[in-house]
Every structure is written in C-alpha cells, then in structure tokens.
C-alpha cells in the first residue's frame, strides 16, 4: 500500500463513526434497528484500523506519514502576520496503534451495549453518542496539529458529557455530567493558553513544525522558562481530561453514566487522551515541566489508590483505580519513561475496559445493584465473567504472565532509574506503594463480589451469566491482557516486538541546558545497534533498575493480594474492627479525602459568592444606572411634556383666543346690512377728512 492509500484509509477511519453518528441520530426514531448500522460502521473502522496498523508496522515502521490541507486562510493579521490554519492527519507508530485500540474497545463496547442497554428508551441515541465519541477520539489520535487536537479534545468533552448524563432524568447523573464538563473546562483553559503561546511564537499549530523550530533553538519569548510554562499549560489539558489531581473529582462522579460508557470513555480511551497528549508533546518538555508532571502523576497515583481501598461501589473502586493508573502513566512520562507509559496506556486500556465491562455484566445480572456489600459468591453463577475479571485483576495488580506486569514493571523501573540518577526517591516509593494498594483493592473487589457467600440471597438467586454479546467482549479483552501479544518473554519486554518495533523513545527537541542531565546525549546512537535511550548512563541505570523493580513490584503485588485474601476471604483480620481502630483514617479515605467538600467550600462556594456579588452588582449598580437614566429621562420628558402642554399649547391657544376675541369684536360691525356699512363709510370719511384736513 502506498502512503497516499494509508492516508485515505485514515480519513475513512476518522469519518466512519461520524457517518454512523449522523445516520443513527437522524434515523433513530424511525428505524428501530439502526444501531446495527452504527455498530457495523465501528466494525468496519476496526477492520480498517487493523489493516492500517499491520501495513504501517510492516512497511513503514519508522516513517511518519502526514497529510494536510489549508483550512482557513485569514491573510494578513495584526501581530502575527500571515495566518493560515492547516488541518491534517499524522500516521506514526503511536497514532496507528492508538487508533486500533480506540476502535477495538469502541467496537467491543458497542457490541456489549447491544444487550446491556436493551430496553432503554433512548437506545438508538445511545449508539449515536458512542459514534460521536469514537469520531472525536479518532480525531485526537490522528491529528497532526495542536488546533485540531484541541477541537476534538472539546468534542470528546461534549460526548463524554452527553453520555455521563445519558440518564438525565436522574439528578445525580445530570449533575455528574455538568461536573465533568465544567472541571474539564478548567484544564482546557490551560491547554488553550499553552496552544496560543505556541501559535504566537511559531505561527503554526503543526507538531512537526513546532518541534523542528524548538530543535533549532527558537523558544517562546526566547527563554527556557517559557518553554516550561508552555509545557505545563498544555499538560493542564491532560490534568482535566485524564482526571489527574487536583481535577480528578469528576471521574468518580462520571460513573453515573451507563457502565459500557465508563469502560469506553472513562477508563480506556478518553481519559487516556490526556496521557496521549503528553506523549505527543513529550519531546518539548523541559526538566522542570517533567518534574511538575511527575509530581502531579505521583499524587494522582497515590491519593485515589488510598480512596479506592474503602469504597463500596464497584464502579467507584474501578474509577479511582483508573485515576491511579493514569497517574502512573503521567508519572512515568514525567520521569522520562516514555515507552513504558505508552505501553501501560495500551495494556491498561484493555484490562480496565475488561474490568468495567465485567462490572457492567455483574451490575446487569444483579439488576443494577452496584454495592459490593450486596454481592458475593457470584463466581458460581457467572463463571466467564469471573474468569475474565480475575485475569484483568491479575493484570492490573502486576502479576507475571500478564500485560500489566510488563508495563507496570517498566514504569516502576523507569522511576527507579530516574531516582537513582536524580535523587527523587519519592517517585519509586509512591510507585511501589501504589502497586501494593492496587493489588489489595482489586482483590478486595474480586473477593467481595465473586467469592464467599451471597450477602443478598434474593438478588443472588436472580443473577445469571450474561448473554453472548456481553461475554464476548470480556473474553477478547481479557485475552489481550496476556503477555504474548506484546513480547515473547513474559518477564522482560525489552526485546519483544512491542518495544523494538512499535514504540520508540522519540527524539528530544528541548535545548540541552533545560534537560535533565541524564537526557543529554553523551553518545550518538549507532544505527542498527541496541537502542540507547536518552544517554548511556540512563540506559545502564534502567538496566540495573529493571531486575530490582521487577522483584519488588512482584513482592508488593503478592503482599497486596495476600492481605486482601487474609482480610476478606479467610477473615483472619476483621476488616470492620480494623476500620474501627483507624476510624479517622478510614473515614478520610471513605470520604475521598473530603475533596468534594473542600472544593464545595472553596471553589464552588467562592464562585457562588462571586456570582452572587456580580448578581448584586448587576441588580443594584448596573440596573441602578439603567433605572436612574430611565428615571432622569422620565423626569425630563415629564417636564418637557408639561412645558409643551402649558407653554407651547398656551401660546397657540392664546393666539387662537386672541383671534377669537378680535373676531368677536369685529363681528359686531359685520351686520350684513348695507346701510350700516354706508353709515360707517360716511363716518370714516368724515373722520378722515377731519384728520387730513389741510386747514
């Protein structure tokens, strides 16, 4: 296939879901089974994206194919100069891989939803929204410039909003939709600012052009500091979209949406868009920006993990786990472990989607019961769901033979190597701690849901294994959680095809003086030689870290799982007594660190107070001015009205009266009798004679 054909493929892949969306939306009420069209469109997209991926990796593995066209030509613009906006697609290794992941999960979720959403009164509209989301997500993945990414960024925001609030009759769902939308806007504001700085400096939105300008030493405002600021500002978009601390509060609430949506949008793809964004701009991140990203990532990995320990809603646990894992990826990017972050993005997408769909299957079987205290013993009733859920839980906990072990181990060794080179030991510490907590809360979930005895006998009796449409996606996704898709060696992925062929650490574009020391290239890599990441010192540090972190992470995971089994399966430790003993800590975690309350008290209350003040200002001052001017106008017009009535009319009437009066007087003389007139004439003549007498 030629490059042109690949681009055409990509265009078709991009617009197929949009077609599905439009058709499904407009015919949804007329044609009952139109959702099949939407699902089929996604399936065709999936097939095309597999073709694209295979062609790309086999024939064009090191080439970035891009195509662009001029979208808007604004001509000469003040400050910037000539302003042309280009849109275009970029097919490189990560975008082709990512588009495949998006379409695979999207298709599986479509398929799963066919049964899960059965009987919903807005059934077809749900599929239309899924199509809109798939379209928007493909746009983010395939774009070759920042502007288009921003546009599609907002589009996924709106489709997420629509799907979270899908059951908008429920107040909590519509509130959650609004919360997600507003919280995301906060992050997007930062992203927009970063984007504008880039455009102002480089007069282009294209990734490639911006990167090459930075490589040439052309920095925003000519300072490394501003490059850091730009990087952090763009990262703000990722904070919002990937639900990173401190904007993570929307994601748990977003679980109000249908569960397949949670799997697609709020676990596998959309929230990964933030990570994808950072992956895209990785080459221009300075050392300071990376440190900020790493800290945010570490906090986001740690805080939700502690919250997930005590949650009782099956979806809430998974939501916090998602934030925590996304924090992992972000932290990995911050510490320079680019390949591992992207790897984890892919593996996490599969096993987390599987977990969410599994929870959907459970919730469906339990008639929309989400509280794990009401479950238990479902293993016997739902064996396939249980098996797939267990495999995914093993993967997320990082047990060998799973994909999660490989990627998580990569991230941990990356942070370990980073710490050994820069001394920031906090990151590996948090990483290992979170690894243990993840294993613990995941197995707490598994045990409480599937093991033991049923806690709610009535619901248990009605539970049953889900239909084929719901089980098939689970099987596919859990199969993808095994190691052999990514590497032949289950313990070390370095020589596997994923790292050696699919993902390569990108070239850095930042000036040397704003990089970490270990990122300054001290050797030029020899083509064909074993790949050297960043520098020789880093590569060797990573090599050393790998063995230690693999063992440590395994120990942590096993410890976490064992702890979960002791507490919930064998009941050697009474969980309730433990909670009683550490009541403040327990409550702190159960109440999500009181983030919602804190934001309510500060930002929400502050905004409300501000808006109240503005409303008061508006009502009193602005309206006062308006009303005042109205009152003045009224008074003036009243006065002029009076003036008009009295003076002007008075004058007019006066002349009228005067004329009338004159007429009244003169009428006396107008008798109509000729003789009177004659007398008057004669008298007048006599008087005139007397007056003009000459004597």
């Amino acid at each position: 296939m030629s490059e042109q054909l690949l681009i055409k493929f990509a265009v078709v892949i991009l617009f197929l879901p949009l077609l599905g969306f439009a058709v499904t939306l407009f015919l949804g009420k007329k044609v009952n089974r139109i959702f099949i069209f939407e699902t089929a469109a996604t399936f065709v997209g999936l097939v095309l994206s597999i073709l694209l991926l295979i062609t790309k990796i086999s024939s064009y593995s090191d080439i970035s194919i891009s195509a662009e066209f001029k979208w808007i030509d604004l001509g000469k613009v003040p400050v910037i100069g000539s302003m042309n906006i280009y849109l275009g697609l970029l097919l490189d290794d990560i975008s082709t891989l990512m588009i495949f992941v998006v379409f695979l999960i999207s298709f599986l979720v479509h398929f799963f939803s066919i049964d899960y959403m059965k009987g919903d009164k807005r059934y077809n509209r749900y599929f239309a929204y899924l199509g809109l989301f798939t379209f928007s997500m493909s746009g983010i993945v395939l774009t070759h410039n920042m502007l288009m990414m921003y546009i599609f960024w907002e589009l996924v925001g709106i489709s997420s909003y629509l799907l979270i609030g899908f059951w908008y009759e429920k107040k909590s769902a519509s509130d959650a939709g609004k919360k997600a939308f507003i919280v995301n806007r906060i992050g997007d504001l930062g992203m927009l600012a970063g984007l504008l700085i880039l455009y102002l400096t480089y007069n282009t939105f294209s990734f490639h052009d911006i990167f090459s300008e930075i490589s040439n030493g052309h920095l925003p405002f000519n300072s490394g500091f501003w490059l850091t600021v730009t990087g952090v500002l763009i990262f703000c978009g990722a904070i919002g979209k990937s639900a990173q601390f401190p904007l993570h509060v929307w994601l748990p609430d977003a679980m109000e949406g249908p569960t397949p949506v949670s799997a697609l949008i709020h676990a596998a793809t959309m929230v990964a868009a933030g990570v994808y964004l950072v992956v895209r701009i990785f080459g221009i991140l300075t050392a300071d920006a990376m440190l900020v990203i790493a800290i945010i990532g570490a906090l986001s990995a740690f805080i939700p993990a502690t919250i997930a320990l005590t949650q009782n809603d099956i979806k809430k646990v998974l939501a916090y786990s998602t934030i925590s894992q996304l924090g992992y990826m972000i932290m990995a990017l911050g510490v320079g472990a680019y390949k591992f972050a992207f790897f984890h993005l892919i593996t996490h997408a599969f096993f987390k989607a599987c977990l969410f769909l599994g929870s959907g299957s459970v919730i469906h079987a339990m008639h929309h019961e989400q509280d794990i205290r009401e479950m238990g013993g479902l293993r016997k009733k739902m064996p396939i769901t249980y098996a797939t859920f267990l495999i995914s839980s093993l993967a997320i906990s990082g047990i060998p033979l799973t994909s999660g072990f490989l990627s998580k181990d990569g991230i941990l060794s990356g942070s370990f190597a980073f710490a050994s080179l820069t001394g920031h030991w906090l990151f590996p510490f948090v990483g290992f701690l979170v690894a243990m907590m993840t294993a613990f809360y995941m197995f707490r979930l598994v045990i409480l849901t599937f093991h033991g005895t049923p806690n709610n006998k009535e619901k248990y009796d009605h539970a049953h294994e889900s239909s084929f449409a719901m089980v098939m996606p689970l099987v596919v996704l859990s199969a993808l959680s095994f190691f052999f898709w990514y590497t032949p060696n289950p313990m070390n992925p370095d020589d596997g095809w994923f790292y050696s062929n699919w993902i390569k650490t990108p070239e850095l574009h930042t000036p040397e003086n704003v990089r970490f020391d270990f990122m300054k290239s001290d050797v030029t890599p020899v083509p064909g030689d074993h790949e050297i990441m960043f520098s020789e010192s880093y590569t060797s540090a990573l090599h050393h870290a790998h063995g230690i972190s693999a063992i440590l992470s395994l120990i942590m995971a096993v410890l976490g799982i064992l702890l979960a089994f002791t507490m919930y399966q064998w009941k050697k430790i009474n969980a309730d007594r433990l909670a009683e003993k550490f009541k403040p800590l327990y409550n702190f975690s159960l109440n999500k660190w009181y983030f919602d309350e804190l934001y309510d008290k500060t930002f929400v209350a502050g905004t409300l107070a501000l808006s109240r003040f503005i409303a008061w200002f508006d009502l009193n001052v602005v309206d006062g001015v308006v009303n005042g001017s109205a009152a003045v106008t009224k008074a003036v017009s009243k006065f002029t009205g009076k003036f008009d009535n009295v003076v002007i009319d008075g004058l007019v009437n006066l002349t009228a009266y005067f004329s009338g009066f004159i007429g009244l007087v003169l009428r006396r003389f107008q008798t109509g009798k000729v003789q009177t007139y004659i007398i008057m004439v004669i008298f007048s003549i006599v008087i005139l004679l007397f007056l003009f007498r000459s004597f």
């Binding site: 107008q670 008798t671 109509g672 009798k673 000729v674 003789q675 004659i678 007398i679 004669i682």
Partner: protein, 102 residues
C-alpha cells in the same frame, strides 16, 4: 341776488345729504336706489357748477351727460337685481336680506 358757485355747492351737498339719508334710512330697496339717484344728481350739479365757474371747457357738461346715461343704465340693472331679489326672498327690504353675513 347773485348766484355764485357756493350756492350751487350748497344745493348739491344738501342733495347729496338727502341722498345719503335716503339710502341709510329707507328699508325699501327701490327707495335706496332713489337715494342713489339723488347722489348722482348732486354730483351732476357739481360737475355743471364747476364747468360753469371753472375753466374746464365742456368737460363738466360731458361728464354730466355721462352720469345721466350711467344713472339710467344703473337704474335698469339695479331694478333688475331688485326684481331678482324679490323673486328669491319675496321681499325687498334691505334689512332682512343679509344672508351673506353668515
């Protein structure tokens, strides 16, 4: 007694005054017309008198003749008007014919 211009003028002015008096006091339109005739004749006396005592040649007499002719024509027309007025109002009392006033 020697008749002078003054005598003529006195006679003519008396005649004029009678004419005026007649016009003003009479109610009958025919009588009013007769008053007008008196005034015309007063003016005729004046013309003749000035022609006799002045140095105007025959102009005075000629004018007097004109006036007589004019008076005859006027009387004819005026009487015709009076006749028409009578036809319209069944009345030739000048006091009551005042519909133009309104």
């Amino acid at each position: 007694m020697h008749v002078t211009l003054t005598h003529f003028l006195v006679v003519s002015s008396l005649l004029f005054c009678f004419g005026i008096y007649g016009i003003v006091t009479r109610k009958n339109a025919v009588m009013v017309l007769m008053g007008i005739e008196l005034i015309l004749n007063a003016s005729n006396i004046n013309f003749i008198a000035f022609a006799r005592f002045g140095n105007f040649g025959l102009q005075g007499q000629v004018f007097a003749l004109f006036v007589i002719v004019l008076a005859a024509a006027e009387a004819a027309i005026a009487l015709a008007i009076v006749l028409n007025v009578y036809k319209t109002f069944v009345n030739i009392n000048v006091d009551e014919i005042d519909s133009l006033r309104d």
